[in-house]
């Protein structure tokens, strides 16, 4: 009795120590991953010393450490010093991943470090890859998961520690011609291998922490999937934050709020000064203004969106009504469905080509605002059609039946029952679709592109452009037939003009700053549409679920 108890406590103690080691290894891998990221983006330099030791050696030491610990975890599980439930093998997916990674290691070691020329890398690559595959596939799961991961970490760490990858090291594949040459330096190779090894070891030690087997795989997979989700959100916030920090200061140059500071406007015969002055949005770009701005592009984008919505939304909602309410499932509806999905995935530049060959010759023969409006309308059509149809199909049949039971006609039912119930879905679809087309560059690039830096006087005036004449087509609009700028196009035009290019006379910012501010405004416009669209959807969904 007492021997069993003491043996149990021994195993328990071992298990505690084992779990502690595994947990610590996971934490160290996370730390190494973060360090690798900072090194890759050059926030730290590899040769900088930390407490007298260069960072590359610190990374190497940590890699060797976690490699040894994870090997120990695997071995102690194999020797059954701890309680674990490993499967017979780590599985084919893991085997192929490790085989592939070691194939690469073998090839790089042979070509980059030993310096075998030509096809000399192939044999070692296959030897290493095959060995890792066998070591993963044909051993018990605890060894198969930890051995290849631990050994790669030890190998990478050892290479860093011994200084083989010193500051002077570089390697360029010999088979690449000089005008297509690539050179690998430690500043990329070291962080890259740190990232890879920390992922492998982190995964293996997560498996070890949960005692391998089904629970081990569960934890290992969850660690990777959580990391992936975290990474995507980090990229999102990083991108948006970066654009804001680069563009906002320029965009808000000279921004003031106060009575009568803004430009004078006339509404219904009353003229007054706006209480806001935002030069970047209210000026054009010319030598006559102090702070150059993007007013023509903003106005162009607004008119583009209005035109596309006026053209596409009635068409799309009407078609959705027909598909959801009138049509019986048959050949016609399935052809429409294929066509709609096809339009949804047609690349935007193809829409642009179509607009250029179909619309431009029919609207005055040159790039024009109306060609851009209609081209974006063609793109908006499938986006709104699909979401509107889904929204209408989601309206319960009881609503329609109740209405029909009252003797109300079909169209009346649609107008007073189906459309109101589906309205939130339709509106969300329109908002998200508008967000998408407002940021499109490719179609307007070929259908309505204007100048690079339009002056304020080139701001398009659609309402004042209408003229009625006595011969067909009875109504004309010069403004619609002119080329105009738009926010995304202007950003593209700035890039192609060369960002060192057009220097502003006396503006407090450079062309590059101007482009960042343009990107910031564009991003703000588009993301506001998305934010509004997504919020409305959540709001109405929550209301429905209640």
């Amino acid at each position: 009795m007492s021997t069993i108890t003491s043996r149990n406590s021994l195993v328990n103690e071992e298990t505690n120590r084992y779990e502690f080691a595994a947990g610590a290894t996971i934490a160290l891998s996370a730390l190494l991953f973060a360090l690798g990221m900072t090194a890759l983006f050059e926030f730290v330099t590899l040769t900088d010393p930390v407490a007298g030791v260069p960072i590359v050696s610190v990374l190497g030491g940590l890699l060797v450490l976690i490699g040894i610990v994870v090997l120990g975890l695997g071995v102690s599980s194999r020797l059954e010093l701890t309680e674990s439930t490993p499967d017979r093998s780590a599985g084919l997916v893991a085997s192929f991943v490790f085989g592939g990674i070691w194939f690469g290691i073998g090839g790089i070691v042979a070509a980059g470090m030993i310096g075998l020329d030509g096809a000399g890398w192939i044999l070692p690559a296959f030897l290493f890859g095959g060995g890792a595959f066998a070591a993963t596939a044909f051993t018990r799961e605890d060894i198969g998961s930890t051995l290849p991961a631990g050994v790669s970490a030890i190998l990478a760490g050892g290479v860093f520690l011994t200084g083989v990858l010193g500051p002077g090291w570089s390697w360029s594949p010999g088979s690449f011609p000089s005008d297509n040459a690539v050179t690998f330096f430690p500043s990329v190779v070291v962080p890259g291998s740190v990232l890879l090894c920390s992922l492998l070891v982190g995964w293996a030690s997560a498996k070890a922490y949960a005692g391998f087997g089904a629970r081990g795989r569960h934890l290992g997979a969850h660690v990777l999937i959580y990391l992936n989700a975290l990474g995507i959100i980090a990229v999102l916030f990083g991108l948006v934050g970066f654009v804001v920090s680069k563009g906002a200061p320029t965009a808000f140059t000279g921004f003031t709020i106060g009575l009568g500071v803004g430009p004078e406007v006339t509404v219904l015969g009353l003229s007054f000064s706006l209480p806001v002055s935002w030069p970047f949005l209210m000026n054009g770009a010319s030598v006559f203004v102090k702070i150059d701005g993007i007013l023509p592009a903003v106005v162009g984008t607004v008119w583009l969106v209005i035109g596309a919505v006026l053209f596409a939304v009635p068409l799309a909602v009407g078609a959705a009504v027909f598909l959801a309410e009138y049509a019986e499932q048959g050949r016609f509806t399935s052809v429409v469905e294929v066509a709609t999905n096809g339009l949804w995935s047609t690349p935007s530049i193809v829409f642009g080509l179509f607009g250029a060959s179909f619309l431009i010759p029919r609207f005055g023969g040159s790039k024009s605002l109306i060609a851009g409006m209609l081209t974006l309308g063609f793109m908006l059509l499938p986006l709104v059609l699909i979401t509107s149809r889904e929204a209408m199909l989601a309206v319960p049949d009881e609503y329609r039946d109740a209405s029909a039971a009252l003797g109300v006609s079909k169209w009346q039912t649609i107008r007073s029952v189906v459309l109101p119930a589906a309205l939130p879905g339709i509106v969300t679809g329109v908002i998200l679709g508008v967000g998408r087309i407002a940021g499109e560059t490719a179609p307007i690039l070929v259908t309505m592109a204007g100048g690079t830096l339009p002056a304020g006087s080139e701001t398009i005036d659609v309402i004042g452009g209408f003229e009625f004449i006595s011969t067909p087509p009875f109504v004309t609009n010069e403004a619609l037939l002119e080329a105009s700028s738009a926010l995304p196009y202007q950003l593209y035009a700035l890039i192609t003009a060369g960002l060192g290019g057009p220097q502003f006379q006396d503006a407090p910012f450079s062309a590059l700053d101007f482009a960042w501010a343009n990107a910031f405004i564009l991003l703000t416009v588009v993301l506001s549409f998305y934010a509004i669209g997504i919020t409305t959807r959540y709001y109405f969904r929550r209301k429905l679920n209640r």
Binding site: N180, Y326, I349, R436, P488, L499
Partner: protein, 369 residues
Amino acid sequence: MNLLPRRRAVHWIVLAREFLDETSASALLALTVGTVSLLSSLGLFLNASPLTSVPLLVFLASITYGWVRHRELTARAVTMAMTASTILILALIVVFIFVEAWPVFDVARAEVFGISVPGLRLFTQAEWAPRSAERYSLLPLIHGTVMVTVVATLVAGPLGVASALFVSEIAPPTVREVVKPGIEILAGIPSIVYGFIGFTIISPWASEQFDLVGQGTYLFVGAVVGLMALPTVVSVAEDALNSVPESMKDGSLALGTTDWQTMTTITLPAAFSGVSAAVLLGVGRAIGETMAATVMLRNSPQLPEPLYNVFYGYDTLTSAIAAQYGEATGNQLSALFAAGVVLFITVMFLSIGSQLIERRMKRQLGGQE
């Protein structure tokens, strides 16, 4: 054998006669006038005639009359015409880009077994020299698109499916409320903004880090495009995963399996076709992505050496159109339309393929829901 079509024709005739009997003469007249005027304004518009607005006004008048007197029929007819417009637009796209592309296909003929195949030379030689030799080739463009798409798929496929698993199966509700809109907003960032960041930050960084000659790599364009295709993969794959009936997952969990075992043995296999449709749609997005590639690549169609050299990026089908359209004329313009044709056909195949896969999945799971 011939009975079936004939019976169907009879069926239609009966339906048409019933319709004619039930509908009043004035409604029929309005319908006819509306249809004829709509078709003729379409025809006039195709001929770029200024008279287009005349039948259009007639059409509007007939609709207004119909709306006042015969609302039910008019609503039905008008929405049907609107539905038909989707097919019409797709058909017009096909016709117009093919017509514009034809001249270069006609010029670039090549003989195979004595038969002159139009356009074959576009795919058999790799030289793009519009000014000096009037030589056009889609080969380097297709190569570029393939390189970018492969890299983008390697990024968007695994990461997208993992995110879809996270959002639909793993994440606790509060985390999901953050991650899901986050991924959707990622889809909202305009491609030119990605391109601008790539052009000002990533490309110079890559050129310095890898000591490249000039700027522009397929590798990083592919990574950026993969990031842009990711939201498509996530949202479609998530729908597929959600459509696996709860009862199937519960049955597995009741046997004492872990979440992950249920995902790999039940949910993913059941949703496999939907998930692969998601990846296909993501591939379609990656192929069609234009601005990031245009801004980040070198815009001079040629093949890198060796062919798998992802560190040198020249041109893709989309970027060639966007970059060269402004100054192209004649056969060069036509060659750009030919690039558009290749794009359109490829993406259409992917779209139809993914729809077939999704339909199959719906049929398979349909019985259990």
